[in-house]
Symmetry: C2
Subunit: 747 residues, 2 copies
C-alpha cells in the first residue's frame, strides 16, 4: 500500500517551478498552478490552449441543481442534488505571429519556464517561440488573481521580437462556452441583452439556480482594436507590428460579479491594472507569510510542500462570503462537485482558527446561514432540530446515497465541536451566545430525537460512524461520544446565558426549560462501550467481527471500493479511517495516554487508511505517544500529496482537506500543540533530518512564535503575553523569547 | 391496524358472482376474474372495453430487460433489471347493433350478471342491452383458458334479439397495441412479415429480449367476414342480420406460442372449439377438485375463499415449463413486475408438494435451470457457489436495491430447504442426487464463502434476514439457522451418494473432498444466539435495541415505508415479519413447544405484520401452541384477502403468496399437518362455527383424506397405506376410514 512520488516540479523554498514542458503533465500542472481567492479559482491552464486541458474556472458558490430520482421512493431519500459548474474562461487568448498561431504542441520553442511565486501569487510562463516566418519571439505570460479586489484578475502578455519585425494578431477574450466535463454540457445562458450590458460586458445565467454572473473585460495593447461580441463571449483582437528587438506589452483586467437568485448584481470594485494588483498582492502575501509561515530547515521538500499547502489554504478560503465553504477540491477542479464535507470542521478549521479567525468564523457562519436547510433535512428524516448535510454547496444535502446522507451524524456533531473550539480560542461570546447557541440547540434536538433508550442508557442506533466500513451499527463510539459532548456543550452554553440572552434564544428557538435537562440526561447516560485493557469498542459487536488481515490484501485490490463487492467491505473488523482514535484526536484531554496507547495499538493495525485524511490523525496521535517513527511514516507525503501526485489524481484538482491536514500534522503532531478547554499547550519534537521548525499561532490578539531546533524550543509572543504549558510545565510567554530544552526527541 | 372487508362479490360454494355492475369495482373485478393456465393469464376485463381497465394479458416468462444505472458504481450493484410485460389482447371485441356500439358505461342495460365457475374455469357475463334502434338484445359473453391445451383460449358470444330484427357488426380481433402501464409503452414489434405469417396469424417480438410470440385467430360466425391485418393486429369483422327471437353464436379460438431468443416457435396444439375446451376443462377441474378440494362447512365465506385460492394456485402454476416460476401477482397484473420471490419456496411450495408433485418439481427445476445465473451473481459479489436472486423472472437478479439483493441470503437457503422437503416427501432420489445435489453444493459453497469466523464460531455478518426491518446485522438467527441446516443437508446428501453418483457430481461441480468437511465444521460451530428463557436473539444486539410500542403507532402511519423516513424503520426492536418464528415454522421438529411458546410470546408483540405473509406463519405457530383464538385472529381474512379487497389494492392483481398462505394456514394451522424428516403427523382442531373441515394430501402415490368435525377426525387413504401420527399417536391408515376423537378443541 506504500505510495510513491511522481516528482515533476523543481524544488524551491517559495516557488513551484516547471522547467521545460512535458505535455504528459499538463493536467497535473493545471491543478498545481491553480490561482484562487475564494471568490474565484482558475486552473493553471495555458491561456492559448493547445494541450490536454481541464479548462476549469470556478466561482465560489456558483452551481447548478439537478433533480435526482432515487433508487426507490422511500422517504428521506435525497431527490435533488447540486454541483459546482465550470464558468467562463476569462483568460482566453489567441496569439498569431505572421499568420502562425501559438500552440506549444505544434510549434517549436525553447527556454520553457513556468513558476508560481508563493510570495505574491504570480503565475509566470515564458519561452522563446521559433515562429515559421518571423524568427524567434520571446513570450512571457503572467497572471494574478487579486487578493484585495476579489472580483478581479489580471493578465499580462509580453512579447519581444528577437530576429525581425513581426505582424502580430493578439486576441484576448472571455469565452462562456466552456463545457462542464462531468455533465458534458455548457450550463450557461447568455442574458447580456436582458441586462443591457455594454460591449465590454457579458452576463451569463445558470439554468436551474437562476444565478447571474457579470464579466467585464478591459484590455490594453498598442495596436488596432477590433472588439466583438459573440454568443456567450467577448473578443478583443489587436493587430500590430512588433518591431525587432522591441517589446510589446498587452494586458487585461477582468472583473467578475455574482448575483444569486433574486439578488441584484453587486457593483464592481474599482478596476486595477496589472502592476497595481501585483503590488497589492505582494503586500497581501507578505502579511500572510509574516504571520502564518511554517519554516522547515534541513528538508527543502517539506519546506516547499508546507508553504504550498498554506498558500492554497489561504487562497481557497478566507471568510469573504459566509455562503462559501471549502470544497473537497477547493476551486481547483470539478471532482467531488465542489461539495464541502465534514472535513471542513475537523481538518480545515484548525488552520484558520490559529491564523485567520475571520475565516474560521466565516466557516461557522456558513453553517448558521444554512441552518434552515439543516432543519428541513432533519424534518425529512422525521427528526427534530438540525441535521447537517454530509456533502453540500448550499446547505441542502447533495449526497444521493441514503446510507451516507441518512446514517452519518458526524456533520452535525462536527459543527457543535467547531463552535466550541472557535469560541474557546477566540472568546467570541457574541457569536457563541447568538448564532452559536441557536445552532447548538438545533443540533442537540436532532441528537436527542435521533437516539434511543434501552436498559443500558442512551445511544444512537443504525448509524455510520466516521469509519465508513461499518454501516447501520449501534452505539458507535465516535458517534455516541461526539453526541454526548455536543449535548453537554449545548446545555452548558445555555446555562451561561444571561436572562436576556436566554430570552432571545427562547424567542428564536422556542427552547423549553426541560430540553437542556433531557440533553444532559441523555449525555450522562450515553452508552460508551468499554472493552478490556482500556480499548473502547468501536461499536456494538465490533470485537466479535471476523478479522481481516489487511496486510494480506494485494496491492492491486486498492482502492477497495473499486475492487471489492460493495457489501463485502462491511463485514469484518477492517477500518477505512479512524473512529475511536478520531474522538481522541478531537478531545485529547478527555483520554489518558494509556487509553490512547491502547486504542492506537488496537485499531491502527486494522485500518487501511482508504481516506487520505486518515494518516494525519494517526500521525498526530502517534506523535503524542512518542511513537515518532510511526508518526513520520504517516506524515510521509502529507505536504507533497499533490505536488508529487502520490494519489495519481492530482489532475482532477487538489486535495484541500489533505492540504489542511499537512499543517495539522506539523503543528499538532510535531509541534504537539493542543488547545482544549481554553488551555494552550505545546510539546514539540523535531523529525529526523530537520534542523529547525518554526511556526506561529494566532490566539486572540497575540501571536505565539515557536522555533524548534534539535536542542531547544524558543517561544516568544507578540501582543498580550500568553499562558501556556510547555511539555506540561506552565509558562507565561511575552515578547522576550524564552527557551527550553526539547524533551521529546526522535526515538 | 385491523383491516376491513370491502365485500362486492356474491357468496357461493363454488362460484364468484357479480350481480349488477358497479363501474367503481371494474379494476378489482378484472383481477378477481383473471383466468390463467401458467402459459398465459388474462385479466377479467370487458372484451368490448368502455370501463376503467388494466387491459392485461400476460405470458409466463415473457419479459423485457432494462439497463439500470445504480445509485453508485459500487461493485455488485445490479445494473440490469427486467419485468413482465403486457402482451396482445386476444379478446378484442367490438359489437355494433343498428349502428350503436356496445359500451356498458354509455348504453342502457339490465340483468347484468357475471360469474366465474370454479368447477370448470368458465367466465360468463350476461346482460340485456337496450339498444337505441333495435330494441333489447340479450348478450352472453363467455371465455375459457384451456387447461389441456395451454396455448389456447376460447370465447363465445351469444346474441338474441328480443324485440325486432337487428343489423349486427361484430369485430373479433387480436390487438398488439396494448400499453404496458408501468412504462407507458407498448413493447412489441410486429414481425409477421419476417415470419411470412398468413393472414390469420400475427407474430410479435420483444425489443430487448428477442422473444417471438405467434398468435393465430380462428373465428366462427354466421355472417359475412371481412378480415384485415393491422399493425400489431388482426381484425375479423362479421356483418349479419339477427332475426327477432333468434340466437346467433359467434366464437373464437386463439392460440399463442412463445419462442425465447434463439428458439424456433413451437408447433401449435390441435385447435379446439369452445365446446371442446369447456368439456375438457370441466374434466380437468373435476379431477383437480377431487384430489385437492378443501371443504369447510358452516362458513360459506371461507369455503368460497379457500376454493378461490386453490383455483388460482392451480391456474397460475402447475409445472408446465421449468422456466416459469410464480410471480408475486401470478399472471394477474403488472405490479411486482411479475417477479418471483423466496415466497415461492416458503409459502407456495407446500400446496404443490401435497397436491401436484410435478408442479413442485417444476419450481425446483426453475432454480436448477437458473443455477448458472445464481453462480454468476455470487461471483459478482466476490463469493463462491450460487447466490439466488431476491426477485427474478429469468434467474438474474432484478432487485436494484443493493440492501436487498446483496444482503438477503434467504433465497438461497430457501432453495436448499425446498430441495430437502421435496425429496423427503416424494422420495425423488434421481432429482436429489443429480440436480438437487448440484444445487446444494453451490448453495453450501456460497454460504461458506459468505460467512466468517470469530472466537465464538461461524456466522454471517452484514445481512438482512427475513425481518426486513433490520439491515446489516450479524449472526441473524434465521440466516444462521437456515445456513446451518443447508450446509448439513448438502453434506448429508453427498454422503449418501454411491461412488458413481459422487463421481458424476465431482465432474459436474468440481467438488473436493474437503468441502463437505468445511461445511459441516461451519454448521457445527454456527453461532445461534440464545437469550434467557428459551428466547433466541434475532440477531446480535437485538435485545438491546430501543423498544417501539407498536400499539402506539397511529393507523394512518401504515404502511410504514410510505410514512416513515426510511432509516427510521431500522433502529428499534420492531419487526416487519417473523424471523426466529419463521425458522421454527420451517423446521418445527427442531424446536420444543416451550421454545416455540417463549419465542412466540416474545416476538409476536413486536411484529407489525407489514408483510401480508406474516399472519399465516403466526397463525400456524399459534395453532400448534393451542393459542386458537389468536390463530383465528391471524387467519382472519386469509382466504378472502383479494375477494374482499382487504389491502385495497386487489385492482393491481392477486396476492399469490397470500393465496398460498391461506391453504397453508388451514392445512398446517387448523389441520396441524407436519411433514418433517419423512414423517407425517396431523393434529387438527376446528375453528369456532365450522361444522366440518376436510382436505386431502397427496403423499407419493397415496392420497390421505382428512375429515374433521367437532368431535372426530376421520382419516382414510387411497393408494398405499400411510403411517402417520395423529395427535402424536402412530397409526397406519388405509382405505377404511379411521376415526379418532379430536383432542384440540377451540379454547
Amino acid at each position: 500500500m506504500a505510495k510513491s512520488a511522481d516528482r515533476y516540479f523543481g524544488l524551491h523554498e517559495q516557488k513551484i517551478i516547471e522547467e521545460g514542458f512535458n505535455p504528459d503533465y499538463s493536467l497535473e500542472s493545471e491543478s498545481i498552478f491553480t490561482l484562487s481567492n475564494e471568490h474565484m479559482g482558475i486552473r493553471g491552464y495555458f491561456e492559448e490552449g493547445g494541450v490536454n486541458s481541464l479548462r476549469g474556472s470556478y466561482l465560489g458558490g456558483v452551481y447548478e441543481a439537478q433533480p435526482h430520482r432515487p433508487e426507490s421512493n422511500y422517504r428521506g431519500f435525497v431527490d435533488r442534488t447540486h454541483y459546482m459548474i465550470t464558468t467562463a474562461d476569462c483568460l482566453s487568448t489567441k496569439l498569431t505571429v505572421a499568420g502562425e498561431e501559438l500552440n506549444l504542441t505544434a510549434c517549436s520553442f525553447s527556454n520553457y519556464y513556468r513558476e508560481l511565486d508563493l510570495s505574491n501569487g504570480l503565475l509566470l510562463r515564458r519561452f522563446t517561440w521559433y515562429t515559421a516566418r518571423a524568427g524567434k519571439i520571446d513570450v512571457v505570460l503572467e497572471r494574478l488573481i487579486s487578493m484585495d479586489r476579489p472580483d478581479q484578475l489580471v493578465q499580462r502578455i509580453t512579447l519581444t521580437a528577437l530576429d525581425m519585425d513581426a505582424t502580430v494578431m493578439l486576441n484576448m477574450g472571455i469565452d462562456g462556452n466552456i463545457v462542464h466535463q462531468t455533465t458534458q454540457r455548457c450550463q450557461w445562458n447568455d442574458v447580456s441583452n436582458e441586462h443591457q450590458a455594454p460591449d465590454d460586458t457579458l452576463v451569463l445565467r445558470t439554468a436551474t439556480t437562476d444565478m447571474n454572473v457579470r464579466y467585464r473585460l478591459l484590455t490594453q495593447c498598442d495596436g488596432t482594436l477590433s472588439p466583438m461580441r459573440t454568443h456567450r463571449g467577448i473578443d478583443h483582437t489587436y493587430s500590430f507590428t512588433l518591431k525587432q528587438n522591441k517589446t510589446s506589452i498587452a494586458s487585461r483586467t477582468v472583473s467578475v460579479q455574482v448575483a444569486r437568485s433574486g439578488e441584484n448584481l453587486p457593483e464592481a470594485q474599482p478596476f486595477a491594472d496589472f502592476a497595481t494588483v501585483l503590488d497589492e498582492n505582494t503586500r497581501h502575501w507578505h502579511a500572510f507569510w509574516a504571520q502564518s509561515d511554517v519554516e522547515i530547515q534541513g528538508d527543502l521538500q517539506n519546506q516547499q510542500g508546507v508553504r504550498y499547502c498554506l498558500f492554497q489554504l489561504h487562497s481557497t478560503y478566507r471568510g469573504l462570503d459566509m455562503r462559501n465553504n471549502i470544497g473537497a477540491k477547493g476551486l481547483t477542479g470539478e471532482s467531488y462537485n465542489g461539495h464541502a464535507f465534514w472535513d471542513t470542521e475537523t481538518y480545515c478549521l484548525p488552520f484558520y482558527l490559529f491564523s485567520e479567525p475571520k475565516a474560521a468564523k466565516g466557516l461557522l457562519m456558513f453553517r448558521y446561514y444554512t441552518l434552515p436547510e439543516a432543519m428541513k433535512r432533519a424534518a425529512k428524516l422525521d427528526l427534530k432540530g438540525a441535521c447537517y448535510p454530509i456533502a453540500t454547496l448550499d446547505g441542502t444535502e447533495a449526497c444521493t446515497l441514503w446510507q451516507h446522507s441518512s446514517l452519518q451524524m458526524q456533520p452535525s456533531t462536527s459543527v457543535a465541536y467547531a463552535i466550541q473550539t472557535y469560541a474557546e480560542l477566540t472568546d467570541d461570546q457574541e457569536f457563541l451566545k447568538r448564532e452559536g447557541a441557536e445552532m447548538l440547540v438545533e443540533i442537540a434536538r436532532y441528537l436527542l430525537s435521533r437516539g434511543g433508550w434501552n436498559e443500558q442508557g442512551f445511544g444512537f442506533y443504525g448509524v455510520m460512524g466516521p469509519d465508513e466500513f461499518h454501516m447501520m451499527v449501534n452505539n458507535d463510539f465516535y458517534t455516541n461520544y461526539l453526541g454526548k459532548k455536543s449535548m453537554i456543550y449545548a446545555a452548558n452554553v445555555i446555562d451561561r446565558l444571561t436572562p436576556k440572552e436566554l430570552e432571545r434564544l427562547i424567542e428564536k428557538s422556542s427552547l423549553s426549560a426541560d430540553e437542556p435537562i433531557a440533553w444532559r440526561k441523555a449525555a450522562d447516560q450515553m452508552i460508551l462501550l468499554h472493552g478490556e485493557n482500556d480499548v473502547f469498542e468501536q461499536h456494538e459487536g465490533y470485537f466479535s467481527l471476523p478479522h481481516t488481515d489487511i496486510q494480506a490484501i494485494a496491492r492491486e485490490e486498492f482502492p477497495l471500493y473499486d475492487h471489492w463487492s460493495y457489501d463485502r467491505i462491511y463485514r469484518t473488523d477492517m477500518l477505512k479511517q479512524p473512529a475511536v482514535l478520531m474522538a481522541m484526536f478531537l478531545y485529547p484531554d478527555d483520554f489518558t495516554d494509556a487509553q490512547k496507547e491502547a486504542n492506537y495499538a488496537y485499531y491502527e493495525p486494522r485500518c487501511i487508511h482508504e481516506s487520505s485524511l486518515s494518516p494525519s490523525v494517526h500521525a498526530i496521535i502517534a506523535s503524542g505517544l512518542g511513537r515518532h517513527e510511526e508518526a513520520l511514516d504517516f506524515f510521509g507525503f502529507a505536504t507533497r500529496l499533490d505536488l508529487d501526485n502520490y494519489n495519481r489524481n492530482t489532475r482532477e484538482g487538489l486535495h484541500m482537506s489533505s492540504v489542511a491536514a499537512a499543517w495539522l500534522t506539523i503543528v499538532e503532531g510535531f509541534g504537539g500543540v493542543r488547545f482544549t478547554g481554553g488551555n494552550l499547550s505545546i510539546a514539540p519534537w523535531l523529525p529526523e533530518g530537520w534542523t529547525k521548525l518554526s511556526f506561529s499561532l494566532r490566539i486572540k490578539d497575540s501571536i505565539l512564535r515557536a522555533k524548534i531546533n534539535a536542542t531547544d524550543v524558543t517561544l516568544s509572543c507578540e501582543g498580550s503575553p500568553l499562558r501556556l504549558a510547555v511539555y506540561g510545565k506552565p509558562l507565561t510567554i511575552g515578547e522576550t523569547p524564552v527557551s527550553c530544552i526539547t524533551e521529546r526527541m526522535l526515538a
